[in-house]
């Protein structure tokens, strides 16, 4: 009879963020021996350093912004101010209340062994952490990602901020150059501009939010410029940065012309890179700097090693990481393997107005050579835009030639709440007519969805 190897654990999860925690909990609840290893703060990036603290700050910023613009509704708000240390204290409270931030004790109570340190594979079934060797029959790599630092001359000689470190600043800087006009870049641009920072936003492509439909990026650029005084510099590349007094001088190249701007701080939000420096070669796992290669069932080329979350180098959404983690738990526990379904995963940008996207964008459809119909309902045609005095936004729905909804983009207050109706439609193949025939409450923002769906011509 073949010798059966004894391992310390049934599963070792490397990374305690969204990609690792769900699988660790599910598998531990089945009575298996599980260990979780975290190199940074337990809970991972989302509750500690990105989603939760940023959204807590944005909530405070939006309240402040609405209040200072309340004069037109008869509110006396001319003397309104803010205390940034108190706002930071609110952010810390929000992080603490999630229960997911710095939650090492939680895992211990679930019977999961925890280790704080960087894990490094030394063989396909063995890792080392703090010079302690641990073996397991299965591994889940959920090490997440880190902010990528682009090659800019002089960047190594100055102190720069990232969307993570700016949350710990004592006060908003007087002026800020943000490198990267993606989701994090625009959220922080709006946050800091609301608190009075002069923001410059440099993006290499021709519009902000290059992954979204063009209308969304263009509208947000206009809102940021007109309402917040942000200087949006599209098609601009930051060439070099140097220290100048207490601030920094940034040289930007735009259409071959170089311009310079002096700012107090620089924030790098030019995308994220998967954390793959954990001795994957020793385990024989195939990977590239763009992420770990997995099959449909999130299994690497080494059968007992799975990967989930940002380390795959996909879209880096927390809810996708949780979905992948659950899929991995199922695929470790059961013979009938399942694959994650990303077709109706919503993506939300928490600016004001919010931006929410689901399914295919118009660019995606063009790339796939799909025949589509589309309809756009501007917010100013619905009643709520009158009572809320807010008109900048739209709902755009894309369908195939039979009217089945393929994707949608919403730019609207509460877009993050509205998108799930269309996510349901994308997931279950509903037609625009079915959505249009569903009653939508008068004076809700969702009326714009009904109007857009009704405008689709088949």
């Amino acid at each position: 009879m073949a010798k059966k190897y004894e391992f310390d654990y049934d599963l070792i999860v490397i990374g305690s963020g969204a990609g690792g925690s769900a699988a660790a909990n599910i598998i531990a609840s089945e009575g298996k021996r599980v260990a979780i290893i975290e190199a940074d703060t337990f809970g991972g990036e989302s509750p500690n350093w990105s989603d939760v603290p940023t959204k807590a700050l944005l909530h405070a910023a939006n309240l402040y912004d609405e209040a200072i613009h309340g004069a037109k509704f008869g509110l006396r708000s001319s003397t309104l101010g803010y205390n940034y240390p108190s706002i930071r204290a609110w952010k810390d409270l929000a992080v603490k209340r999630t229960g997911a931030g710095n939650n090492r004790d939680y895992y211990e109570k679930q019977g999961i062994n925890t280790f704080n340190g960087a894990a490094h594979f030394i063989s396909p079934n063995e890792i080392t952490v703090n010079r302690r060797h641990l073996s397991a029959s299965n591994f889940l790599i959920a090490t997440g990602s880190h902010w990528m630092i682009p090659e800019i001359t002089g960047i190594d000689k100055i102190k720069y901020l990232t969307p993570r470190t700016i949350l710990e600043e004592i006060r908003p800087p007087k002026s800020l150059m943000i490198v990267g006009g993606g989701e994090s870049g625009v959220e922080i641009a709006q946050l800091m501009a609301t608190f009075g920072t002069k923001v410059y936003l440099a993006e290499k492509t021709e519009r902000l939010l290059p992954k979204c439909d063009s209308e969304a990026g263009e509208l947000l650029a206009r809102i940021l410029t007109e309402q917040k005084g942000v200087s949006v510099l599209t098609q601009s590349r930051v060439v070099s940065i140097e220290k100048e007094g207490l601030g920094k001088r940034v040289i930007i190249s735009r259409a071959g012309v170089e311009k310079s701007v002096r700012v107090d701080e620089i924030l790098i939000a030019a995308g994220r890179m998967p954390n793959v420096d954990l001795g994957l070669e020793n385990a024989g796992v195939k990977y590239s700097p763009a992420g770990i290669e997995v099959n449909d069932f999130l299994q690497t080329n080494v059968k007992h090693i799975f990967a989930a979350g940002d380390v795959l180098g996909r879209n880096g959404l927390t809810h996708n990481a949780i979905l992948e983690s659950r899929v991995v738990a199922n695929n470790i526990l059961h013979r009938n393997k399942v694959a994650p379904d990303y077709s109706a995963t919503p993506e939300i940008i928490f600016t004001n107005p919010g931006i929410a996207v689901v399914g295919l964008s118009e660019d995606d459809c063009i790339k796939r050579d799909l025949q589509i119909n589309k309809a756009v309902a501007p917010l100013n045609i619905i009643a709520r835009s009158n009572t809320s005095d807010f008109r900048d936004g739209f709902v755009k729905i894309i369908t195939d030639k039979k009217g089945v909804i393929l994707g949608a983009t919403i730019v609207c207050p509460h877009a993050g709440e509205m998108i799930h109706e269309l996510a349901l439609a994308v997931k279950y193949g509903l037609t625009a007519t079915q959505v249009a025939n569903t009653p939508h409450a008068f004076l809700s923002w969702s009326e714009a969805i009904r109007v857009a769906a009704g405008n689709i011509s088949i």
Binding site: G117, V129, G279, N282
Partner: protein
């Protein structure tokens, strides 16, 4: 600089030792010289690779000999592509 990393042999995991800069430097120099790099350039390249490698090693507690080869080869590629190839394949090139 004190580097705490312990090096585990990839082929014989029971064999462990300390990271040895001189050994890494010598192997990089040999790879550079084997592709006709001038001696001075080979030495400065090896120093640069060792410095970069030690930056990578700084937050590691235990690494394997295989890690040293793979990471050094990647770092060497920045300075000398041909030498990096020779360095990585030196055990199978006769």
């Amino acid at each position: 600089m004190l580097l705490p990393a312990v090096v585990i042999s990839s082929s014989h995991p029971e064999k462990v030792g300390k990271y040895n800069r001189a050994r890494l430097r010598a192997s990089v120099i040999t790879a550079c010289l084997s592709v006709c790099t001038p001696e001075g350039q080979a030495e400065s390249t090896a120093d640069a690779v060792c410095d970069d490698f030690e930056v990578w090693l700084r937050n590691k507690q235990e690494v394997t000999t295989r890690d040293i080869v793979i990471v050094s080869a990647k770092l060497l590629e920045k300075y000398h592509t041909e030498a990096a190839y020779i360095y990585e394949q030196r055990h199978i090139i006769i």
